[in-house]
């Protein structure tokens, strides 16, 4: 017997054509799936009643795998075959993963491919395949709960996820047999869950303190459109750190030495976690623990003491908050709502401090662990077409600027960071040398002036440019970023119409730490960058001048120059060549000026010669009009 849901008026579907859609929060620690049933958004539970699925996959020697709670215990027993926090590896190269400093017990397979693969008992798997295994379990749960095949899903990703990470997430979904209707930024999903999209225009802050990561995002709702104004965070700060603060306190109080064993440490972490959770409800809690020597220690931790322990950590989250406000170019009193996301925002002190900082009562009504999935579920319901009068277009912003390499290894920004997507921008470039018939386009991501300090995303070539003098060709380069944050670049020579393009699917992308580092570096190296740019520009100018004078001398130097004049020019040329190799941009400028001076007469003579040549056989009168 079919089980039916209540539709919106006029939206009943024909039998077997239900537009079943779910939202998936594919988290670092836990994943959830949510849907809208009979107009109510809710997360879906498994047979045991668990809503959260630990994002853990345990690969077995028989080629199969276990996902979630079943896999969790294996993480300590069989760490090599139990993959945790696979999200941190999505869209990353092996170097990226190692650079994050997280110690991973996995054995990576040596391959030429840029996509790292982990060797497990069941075979070798990439992060995309491992994520797909998690998604498959959620898909099964959703289809069992909704009684049919899913039409589509919305998957949430952190706002700072780059191209490669988004593409990997999509690939994982495809591999799991899911049709991704859209990737949605996590903060945007949280705002949707609270129905902020139905409210008045305004600026909202999403404060997301999870188990191991912290993110803060500022969204602006404008004409029914969500725009992410700015994001910041700390990828190594979360509830685990709050627990660790309590552990340190217990160890100090109980006189436990720092070199405590792994086993004892795990027990301490568990006790600390229990104490933390107890203090959400009550003003004090008893902690009893058995020491290694068999004796017991008993202590009392009050809410006040706990607050003191965690205050420095909460303060650490407020610095990124301040930064996003500055990045977004807003003031505190422009903020309408603050949405709390992540289990750690259950801690009363966190709510209090965040409320104080933003001077507003944060929204906490929806379970902070489920709020992102619920928002994704609501969005999936809309995208599947179950709500006719509610077309919502959600916008995100670019986390880092996109540009290309110009002469001298300089970064030319085409789309600036924090530009809302989807976006398309074009810029015109030209050729550097006479008769240049091809142009290499190097796509770069980052904020620094020199390309070496930024991230290379892709390279491609525009060939078949008709031979012209330097600077005559008009090459229009267009950057397009779609609603999912994926970039495509095309180049077209306007006079001839030759075209070339590339879909940027970098083999791996940037880590959020790297993004943060790159942003920081761009600020702290601002002066250096300006100087470097000045130098490179002078060097490029020197090359251009040298190129021009060399080709002129080769053409008519012998006819127009005396030996004496020739040696003066040669001296100026070699001086410019020499200073060009140095780092003194003023000296280069001077050498260019000197060469200019040395060649002034010659240039005049060339001009005369070319005019004579052009006028030869014509009468003066012909030129008078």
């Amino acid at each position: 017997m079919a089980l039916l849901q209540i539709s919106e008026p006029g939206q009943s579907t024909a039998p077997h054509e239900h537009r079943l859609a779910v939202g998936i929060d594919l988290g670092t620690t836990n994943s959830l799936v949510a849907t809208v049933r009979s107009g109510t958004a809710e997360t879906l539970a498994d047979e045991q009643g668990h809503h959260t699925l630990p994002s853990i996959v345990h690969y077995l020697p028989d080629g199969g795998c276990k996902v979630g709670h079943e896999a969790r215990s294996a993480a300590t027993e069989d760490p090599q075959n139990t993959i945790v926090s696979v999200k941190r590896m999505m869209g990353r190269g092996l170097d990226d993963i190692r650079a994050t400093g997280h110690k991973l017990p996995y054995e990576f397979v040596q391959t030429d491919s840029a996509v790292p693969r982990i060797k497990t008992a069941a075979g070798e798997f990439s992060a995309v395949e491992i994520s797909a295994d998690i998604l498959k379990v959620l898909k099964q749960r959703a289809e069992a709960s909704l009684g049919g095949e899913l039409k589509g899903v919305v998957i949430t990703v952190p706002a700072y996820f780059d191209d490669a990470q988004r593409q990997s997430t999509k690939d994982a979904a495809t591999l799991a047999g899911l049709n991704v209707m859209r990737l949605l930024n996590e903060p945007t999903a949280a705002a949707v869950a609270y129905g902020l999209d139905h409210g008045a225009e305004g600026i909202h802050v999403i404060y997301d303190l999870g188990g191991g990561t912290f993110d803060v995002s500022i969204l602006r709702l404008h004409k029914g459109v969500f725009e992410v104004l700015a994001t910041a965070g700390d990828s190594a700060l979360g509830g685990d750190d709050l627990d660790k603060a309590v552990v340190d306190w217990i160890m100090q109080q109980a006189g436990i030495a720092d070199d405590v064993g792994h086993h004892q440490m795990r027990r301490l972490m568990r006790d600390a976690n229990t104490a933390k959770e107890a203090l959400t409800e009550s003003d004090s809690t008893e902690i009893t623990l058995e020491l290694d020597d068999g004796t017991h220690w008993q202590g009392n931790l009050t809410r006040e003491q706990f607050n003191e322990l965690v205050d420095p950590l909460i303060k650490k989250t407020l610095a990124p908050c301040r930064r996003t406000i500055r990045d977004a170019g807003i003031t505190l009193d422009e903020i309408s709502e603050v949405v709390m996301v992540g289990g750690s925002t259950r801690v009363p002190r966190v709510r209090e401090k965040v409320g104080e900082f933003f001077n507003t009562q944060p929204l906490v009504d929806i379970d902070p662990d489920k709020v992102v999935a619920i928002g994704a579920g609501i969005q999936a319901d809309i995208l599947a077409g179950n709500k006719p009068d509610d077309e919502l277009l959600l916008l995100d912003v670019l986390p880092l600027s996109l540009g290309l390499e110009t002469m001298g290894g300089l970064m030319e920004k085409v789309i600036n960071r924090n530009t809302p997507i989807p976006v398309s921008r074009a810029q015109d470039f030209t050729t550097f040398k006479d008769g240049q018939t091809a142009m290499a386009i190097h796509v770069i991501q980052g904020e620094r002036e020199l390309i070496d300090d930024n991230r290379s995303l892709a390279r491609f070539e525009l060939r078949g440019i008709p031979a012209m003098v330097a600077g005559a060709a008009r090459i229009r380069v267009t950057y397009q970023v779609d609603a999912d944050g994926l970039l495509s670049v095309s180049a077209r020579e306007e006079t001839s119409g030759v075209e070339s393009s590339i879909q940027v699917k970098p083999s791996y992308g940037l880590t959020d730490e790297e993004i943060t580092d790159m942003l920081k570096a761009s600020m702290s190296h601002a002066q250096e960058d300006v100087d470097a740019r000045g130098l490179r520009e002078k060097q490029v100018e020197a090359d251009r001048v040298l190129e021009a004078i060399n080709s002129a001398v080769a053409e008519d130097g012998a006819a127009l120059l005396s030996d004496a004049e020739r040696s003066v020019i040669d001296a100026a040329i070699s001086k410019l060549k020499q200073t060009r190799e140095g780092t003194d941009s003023r000296a280069i400028k001077q050498a260019i000026d000197e060469l200019d001076k040395a060649t002034a007469d010659y240039a005049e003579r060339r001009m005369d010669a070319s005019i004579n040549k052009a006028m030869a056989g014509h009468k003066i009168e012909e030129f008078e009009n």
Binding site: M1, I6, E8, G10, P15, H16, S38
Partner: protein
């Protein structure tokens, strides 16, 4: 005769209506489609049409248009679970034959 609701069905409808924040009740109906001829309509109701019949059970208004009433008279709306799946079920005495899944039927 008329339309009735079981206690679990009434509870869920009440919660859904409350969550939705608007609506005067629940609209039941049938439309021609599906693999066995007729299909059920189950929607929130925001307005009442002139010919509509209204039944009240467990404090919830159930609204049916007269054409559908011919096929629905005597129906009890229930809420059930099958494994993880849950939803509303029509216990309709008029049904002679239903398709395998029970989503569409003939009278």
């Amino acid at each position: 005769m008329g339309i009735t609701l079981t206690e679990p069905a009434a509870q869920h409808i009440r919660a859904y209506l409350e969550n939705r924040g608007k609506g005067i009740g629940l609209r039941l109906g049938v439309k021609t489609s599906g693999c066995s001829g007729m299909a059920y309509v189950l929607e929130f109701a925001d307005e009442l049409n002139e010919e509509d019949q209204v039944f009240e059970d467990h404090g919830i208004k159930v609204i049916v248009d007269p054409k559908s009433m011919i096929y629905l008279d005597g129906t009890e709306l229930d809420f059930g679970k099958e494994g993880l799946n849950e939803g509303f079920q029509f216990n309709n005495p008029n049904v002679k034959d239903a398709c395998g899944c029970g989503e569409s039927f003939t009278v």
